[in-house]
Symmetry: C2
Subunit: 189 residues, 2 copies
DNA sequence: TATGATTAGTCAGTTTCTTGAGTATGGTGC
DNA sequence: GCACCATACTCAAGAAACTGACTAATCATA
């Protein structure tokens, strides 16, 4: 039951519709959790049923109507409880790592392609995170923002996202170099 | 269906029992995938049914009997196919990030404790990975091992695991410093 | 001589996540 | 003017993952 807390945490910044949340939790800004739209709508329904969020209908002229959600006091209390409980250790589950683990027994070519693709993806996300960070801190230098900013949670998680993608990119580049050299060497024989 | 490929990749290094795999996929050496024992036993049963792994009974005197599994040719072909297919992007799902995201609205104290705990866990895993790496490469220098080693897949994934835990530790330390300073500042008022 | 840890698994039940499709409207580009 | 994309959701089915309990033997520890 961590998706529910992720949704609560995301709603701390204001009111969002399911659709807006879905955007944030999808490819874009999912720097602290990931989920698909259907899951979010379902979770929002459960959260509302349990009184942890409150939704209100917003009638729109040019667009379909939407429901905006905010965290209730009960929701905040639930988050507080969650934050005080022990965290599960984080672990890795990554297709690409499985492929690299098997790389001595399968074709190197396709793996190299996917490493290159992953580098591109990581760099795109790094740029996105960089922009987000600048937007959040505005003109204030980072150190000062972190000392005195009102809302630094999203900034801190974004820093982790950025570092994670840097790690991804660096590793992919390193591995690519190693595998490329081995491929060359094996083809020379 | 990526657990099946993770199991196949893990079995490339030789024969393992469900129990041994469970150890590797649990807290210990899960540097490329994570799964619980029950899942592994179930997946091994499915893999055997589909002819991708073959198991053989080993009768033991002092211990319960066990079944050792190895990858079949069909299993290797399946892995090959998997390696050539596109990878899903990797994404983050981490309780602790959710808590940090919400840190402006919940108590800082518990979050700081958990960051410290995460640092300890990360350092323990870094040491484990360091030992594993040394064991895999033996006396050979890393560059040479990566150029000429027979089986480098596990070494490469272990490098990612190590870098990931370093990133974890560095981020936790940074965030802890920021939050500690803010906590001090708010208590002075 | 109990107690607990380790080896080696199995079974059942539930939650969570993913996949795929479907509804409806308005705006944008060619 | 027609196709396609964006907004804003909903429904259903199935796969994957998690939780917790249970068997059964040996070995180490207190």
């Amino acid at each position: 039951m961590a998706l529910r807390h992720a949704v609560l945490a995301a709603l701390l910044d204001g009111e969002y519709s399911g659709y807006q949340l879905a955007k944030a939790f999808d490819v874009g800004v999912a720097n602290f959790w990931y989920a698909q739209p259907q899951q979010l709508y379902a979770e929002l329904a459960r959260l509302e049923r349990d009184g942890l969020v409150a939704g209100r209908q917003v009638v729109q002229e040019t667009r379909p109507n939407k429901r905006l959600f905010r965290v209730t006091d009960a929701g905040l209390a639930e988050l507080e409880k969650f934050a005080a409980a022990a965290s599960k250790p984080s672990f890795v589950r990554d297709d690409l790592l499985v492929k690299v683990q098997a790389v001595d027994h399968v074709g190197i070519g396709p793996v190299l392609e996917q490493l290159a693709e992953r580098v591109r993806a990581a760099e795109a996300r790094m740029e996105l995170f960089g922009k987000l960070l600048r937007k959040m801190r505005g003109e204030t230098p980072e150190e000062e923002f972190l000392r005195g900013g009102e809302r630094i949670g999203p900034y801190l998680t974004c820093l982790r996202g950025l570092a994670f993608e840097q790690g991804n990119r660096d590793w992919c580049l390193r591995i690519s170099a190693v595998l490329t050299e081995r491929k060359g060497a094996s083809e020379h024989r």
